[in-house]
């Protein structure tokens, strides 16, 4: 998988627990352009282990001199966001993946409704620059806990003008999603990125209101679940890998030098899907990708977030 070597040039605390990072190509060359909603996977060397987290590119999408990401320090971090907050400073060299878009705007939408919760604002910042440039109709609804958590509010006001609406929970209460989705014209698409309950709630409400599934777009990056250790036997590579309790299957395989495919590392895209040939226990799925039927069949797994309660699993990789 092709990668980019970058150098961090600026780190700024922009809100409670949120830092904003600016990075340029290490050799000073232009970076690839990207489409709004794209993310990159940042590789971090944490105590000799390579840790990879996906972060949305904030744009603007017409700037290929630097990439911008924002990272919220997670209370229950497995190390990635803490590393970004505590170890990364101007001058730090990092390796990132090429931009990938699993949350792009639908170019035939009549209107775009963007709904952000907290740090979930980041993919919309790049989407907005595309929507502005293309002259599409849109509204941005940004909910956050309180004024101290309102990262990038000024930038958003400048970019969106009267198309942006803000919902500090401690002042206005929660954003009423039912009301918001009830009054949109046919042909609208809604995009949501935020905490799990917000994303799940919006999807449920949209479905109840009769929104077509293909008009509802969401992005949430799940952190891999921890659990009991187990052994994975790889058929094609003819090797065995022990998955420790605090690493995902994918991470454990990467540690062992296996070049396993992945894109989102968050159980959303399905790129890392692998066939389970044998398992002497139960698969524990944490992804958003496999269908109920596939879960019942118990012969596929997304190793980026899912694992098993077993002693040994055989996969076709």
């Amino acid at each position: 998988m092709s990668a980019l070597k970058v150098k961090v040039t600026a780190v700024e605390q922009v809100a409670e627990q949120i830092k904003h990072f600016t990075m340029v190509a290490e050799d000073g060359s232009p970076l690839p352009y990207f489409s709004g909603g794209s993310h990159v996977v940042v590789s971090m060397d944490i105590d000799g282990r390579t840790h990879r987290n996906a972060y949305s590119l904030m744009g603007p999408t017409n700037d290929n001199s630097a990439y911008q990401i924002a990272v919220r320090k997670q209370e229950k971090s497995r190390g990635g966001s803490v590393f970004m907050h505590e170890k990364v400073e101007p001058g730090t060299l990092l390796e990132i993946s090429m931009p990938t878009n699993l949350f792009s705007i639908h170019r035939l939408a009549k209107k775009h409704i963007l709904v952000a919760g907290g740090i979930g604002i980041t993919p919309f910042l790049s989407q907005i620059t595309d929507l502005n440039r293309l002259g599409h109709d849109y509204e941005l609804h940004y909910a956050y806990r309180s004024a101290e958590h309102a990262a990038f509010r000024k930038e958003i006001e400048a970019l969106c003008g009267d198309k942006a609406f803000f919902y500090p929970e401690n002042e206005t209460g929660r954003l009423n999603i039912t009301e918001l989705l009830s009054k949109q014209p046919l042909g609208s698409h809604v995009y949501v990125c935020g905490p799990d309950p917000m994303v799940n709630g919006l999807e449920l409400i949209a479905s109840e209101l009769g929104w077509p599934e293909t008009s509802v777009h969401s992005e949430k990056f799940l952190a891999p679940a921890t659990g009991a250790p187990f052994t994975v036997s790889l058929l094609q590579s003819n090797t065995e890998v022990v998955v420790p309790g605090d690493l995902s299957m994918l991470e454990a395989m990467e540690e062992a030098g296996i070049d396993a495919p992945y894109l989102c590392r968050g159980g959303a895209c399905g790129r890392c899907e692998v066939e389970v040939v044998e398992c002497d226990g139960d698969l524990v799925h944490h992804d958003e990708y496999l269908s109920d039927a596939e879960r019942v069949a118990a012969n596929k797994i997304l190793p980026c977030v899912s694992r098993a309660n077993c002693s040994r699993m055989v996969i076709n990789l």
């Binding site: 352009y33 993946s97 990938t100 792009s104 639908h106 293909t214 894109l263």
Partner: protein
């Protein structure tokens, strides 16, 4: 390197020809003596110097003549160039892909100078030089997709990604194997491929679509496809079937060597950066049976592939009206010797 370009035609007197070097680099498609569809997708990484895989976009001795042929087709029927309105970002992406690739691969023939959004493009083989503002359509003589497509070989279809599907929303198709971009415009991936026999029930399009939806910027992929034709006619489109359809009954055992061509499509897929669309290039290489037979293993294997080909595939590939003369021509060249796996010539 200064490239030499053939003066040749793909219609009328059919003066198209391959130099010996061009025959040697022909992307022969058959690894084994039998052929069936597969998702034969591989990384489009740089191949051996001189091969058609050396550069992301191959330019060869037919470049100038193929661009002229495209201009003729467009002057007769401009519906071969389709670009739906939401594809403007993809138009510029495609222009960037072609210009950066050609100028990096063939710096003596093509030069691109970028100063912010001010671009300067020099195409020496076609004697074109333009200054324009990237993103400003009014600074080019025509829309960016058509502009750049008139300067590159092969047909191109640009697919918009939405609803977990790929839609053929833009295309420049003037050298196609019996299909029509005006007919297919706006179709989903499976609609577009619906006429292919047996592939859907083999799950090929499900797998290919899933794979392509995850195609990454910077990691293009490729595959080959093939068919045969009588006369080196690039424009065998549905629109002009009345013009070329009768060619198919003009092949005989005696003339097949010079008149019948193996026609291979090198298909490459590139993720585009600004639009998140996918550029699908279909580059056609043609070689006469006589030229092909300068490498005996290629002729022997073609004989075996055609004899064992599933009848539905022969029908779909339009081979039925001239398959017999081709087999009659090939048979004396095949001594039945064992051929090792692989597409390489002797």
């Amino acid at each position: 390197m200064n490239m030499a370009f053939n003066e040749e035609t793909f219609r009328g007197d059919f003066t198209f020809r391959n130099s010996p070097e061009s025959v040697r680099r022909f992307p022969y498609p058959f690894e084994e003596d039998e052929y069936m569809y597969s998702v034969n997708i591989e990384q489009h990484t740089s191949g051996e110097p001189g091969s058609v895989f050396e550069h992301p976009i191959d330019v060869d001795e037919h470049y100038v003549a193929e661009c002229k042929e495209r201009a003729i087709v467009l002057s007769e029927d401009h519906t071969r160039c389709v670009a739906l309105p939401h594809m403007m970002d993809a138009q510029w992406d495609t222009l960037e892909l072609v210009m950066t690739s050609l100028s990096e691969s063939y710096p003596s023939e093509f030069q691109l100078t970028i100063d912010g959004d001010k671009w300067h493009w020099v195409n020496k083989p076609l004697d074109i030089e333009d200054h324009f503002v990237f993103g400003d359509v009014s600074t080019l003589p025509m829309e960016p997709f058509e502009y750049v497509m008139r300067q590159v070989q092969g047909d191109w279809v640009i697919m918009d990604q939405r609803d977990d599907d790929l839609y053929a929303d833009m295309g420049m198709v003037t050298g196609q194997a019996d299909w029509s971009v005006a007919f297919d415009a706006g179709m989903s991936f499976k609609e577009w491929h619906a006429p292919v026999p047996h592939a859907p029930e083999m799950g090929i399009f499900d797998r290919a679509l899933k794979y392509l939806l995850h195609l990454q910027y910077g990691s293009p992929v490729r595959r080959t496809n093939w068919r045969m034709c009588v006369n080196p006619r690039l424009d065998t489109s549905s629109e002009t079937y009345d013009v070329w359809g009768t060619d198919n009954v003009s092949a005989t055992k005696e003339n097949a060597g010079d008149k019948v061509f193996l026609r291979v499509e090198l298909q490459a897929l590139f993720r585009l950066p600004r639009s998140n669309a996918i550029a699908f290039s279909i580059r056609t290489y043609m070689v006469s049976l006589a030229d092909l037979a300068t490498y005996p293993r290629w002729a022997k294997r073609l004989n075996r592939v055609l004899r064992s080909l599933h009848p539905d595939l022969a029908e779909y590939k339009g081979l039925n009206s001239f398959k017999q003369p081709v087999l009659d021509w090939l048979e004396p060249l095949d001594d039945g010797a064992f051929l090792e796996k692989g597409v390489h010539p002797e």
